[in-house]
């Protein structure tokens, strides 16, 4: 059991103790949070800093395809891209992982086995999470059995919004156990939690339950990762480590499409959680089209010319 689970035994003893704890977290002022995120967004990252940030961002991408139309061929192409993002420059970092549905894990693994690119799989009846617990656990075990290194689970937002925090907690615990050695990312679907106070509570709930990563969104709803909700989650992992010594990663997902956006998120990481999180073990981008924009910007830095879409690969 992770250290955190025992440290918070009192908190998770009952529905009411858990509720008291989560509702006792400091409130979040939305305008102040968004203003801070926007202010960090005005950092000007140029030249060497930009080169560093671009490579770091590439290395942090969970290159994702989560479509009903996914096929082994599509997944193999994506995995190939993860291994070799820019055929014109072999020095380009690989992405952190490829993220697929459980039934596509094997196809991804076939390409990536033996590399340092991980296979992440969504699970637990992604994206809605509306299934019985044993179905969610079976989903998880399937993915792990197929070779997933990481599991991206969704929380039961319905239970969370209904105030059944202990149910959410226990489900995360169960999935964590089913994940075995795979690292567990817990998706809150922040767009559905709607308030920043809820996002802070969900963050602590997830971390107490043993999440290795807390993740904003599925990418399947209207509002996905934003600078503000990611900043808030970065504050949570920072404070959680200060309190427990346990470091938890953060993964914004959905809606991050440009280098400019990605660099802003890295500034958030740098100035909120700190440089300990500036590593793909602790920070990820859930994204797909972002990679090509990073690659074009990377080519621009190398050559001085603006690149074009024909000079990066379509996957």
């Amino acid at each position: 059991m992770p250290h955190s689970a025992t440290a918070f035994a009192d908190v998770t003893a009952s529905d009411s103790t858990l509720r008291r704890f989560l509702h006792g977290l400091p409130g979040v002022d939305a305008v102040g949070l968004e203003a801070r995120a926007a202010s960090l967004g005005t950092r000007s990252i140029k030249t060497t800093a930009k080169a560093y940030a671009i490579d770091l961002a590439i290395s942090m991408i969970d290159l994702t395809t989560l479509e009903g139309a996914d096929t082994p061929g599509k997944v193999r192409a994506l995995a190939g891209k993860a291994l070799n993002p820019d055929p014109t420059d072999r020095a380009t970092p690989r992405t952190a992982a490829v993220c697929v549905y459980p039934d596509m894990v094997a196809a991804a693994k076939a390409v990536l086995a033996g590399s340092d690119v991980k296979v992440a799989s969504v699970a637990t009846a992604f994206p809605a999470g509306r299934a019985a617990l044993d179905v969610k656990l079976a989903d998880t075990r399937d993915a792990v059995a197929a070779g997933a290194d990481e599991i991206d689970m969704v929380i039961d937002r319905g239970a969370f919004l209904a105030g059944d925090y202990l149910k959410v907690y226990e489900e995360i615990r169960a999935v964590k156990e089913a994940s075995g050695a795979a690292r567990l990312k817990v998706i809150f679907e922040t767009g559905e939690l709607s308030t920043y106070d809820n996002i802070r509570r969900a963050s602590w709930l997830g971390m107490i339950a043993g999440a290795d990563f807390i993740k904003t969104s599925t990418g399947k709803v209207g509002v996905n990762a934003t600078p503000a909700n990611t900043l808030l989650m970065l504050e949570a992992v920072r404070d959680f480590r200060a309190q427990t010594g346990v470091q938890v990663g953060v993964k914004p997902a959905g809606g991050i499409r440009t280098t400019k956006d990605a660099v802003k998120f890295l500034v958030l990481v740098n100035e909120t959680a700190g440089e300990d999180w500036l590593d793909n073990h602790w920070f990820r981008f859930g994204a797909s089209s972002l990679l090509n924009d990073l690659l074009m910007q990377r080519q621009k830095l190398a050559t001085g010319r603006y690149s074009g879409p024909d000079y990066v690969t379509v996957d």
């Binding site: 002022d29 939305a30 305008v31 102040g32 968004e34 922040t190 767009g191 939690l193 709607s194 308030t195 920043y196 809820n198 996002i199 209207g222 509002v223 934003t226 503000a228 909700n229």
Partner: protein, 297 residues
Amino acid sequence: MSESSRLSVLKTYKLYVGGKFPRSESGRVYEVADAKGTWLANVPLSSRKDARDAVVAARKAFGGWSGATAYNRGQVLYRVAEMLEGRKGQFAREVARAEGLSKSEAALVVEAAVDRWVWYAGWTDKIAQVVGGANPVAGPYFNLSTPEPTGVVAVLAPQESSFLGLVSVIAPVIATGNTAVVVASERAPLPALSLGEVLATSDLPGGVVNVLSGKAAELGAPLAAHQDVNAIDLTGADAALARELEIAAADNLKRVLRPAEAPDFAADPGLARLTAFLETKTVWHPTGSLGASGSAY
């Protein structure tokens, strides 16, 4: 029985400070005569220490009075008008003697003074809506400006208009929640000292209005320099004294209402005397943003 056969009972005029009627701590009095020079009364010749005590009383009353609801203050001011209405005869006699007016002229002045209380009674719960309000700032903030009383106001009451002028300078000060230390007309202080008796029976908390009689110059100096006085109305000061007091008032940056050249207390008072002793407080608070922008508040 003829009126003249009965020896009338004279009133000992006293100060009104902290809701009580003290004599001057100095023990001094001076003679007050009517417009023709006939002796009317010996009144307290207040000292610096009386001024000091009056400021203490006014400061003590400030929290309660400024914290009272505007509706409550309006009720109290209206009560003053009611009390005064019943004592019109007395005040008409005092004003007639003080200002050398005929009985009917004096009666009109007193009625105007009663009406002035009614005017300001109605203002207590409206001034905030007229001079305050929401400010449409360019951002996600609720922003509201409200007028607040400045604190303790020293008032040099007009020298000539001993009653209508007096009421016209006191009522706007206290309508908005300030408390007042009033220096009555030096030559004609009797209506002011009698007003104290009316205020004492009008539900006005003690200390909200304090009335001193004496010399404007002698009392004005310590009041203008007093560090716990927030504002000064120089209406009753002549040009030289007004300048001297304005200079002294700068020591703690009192709000200063300079004397007007020829004040017409019968005219529509407007808002100037109300706003002269108001501060504007502006409070900001984030509103948060709703809905489609994706912001979660």
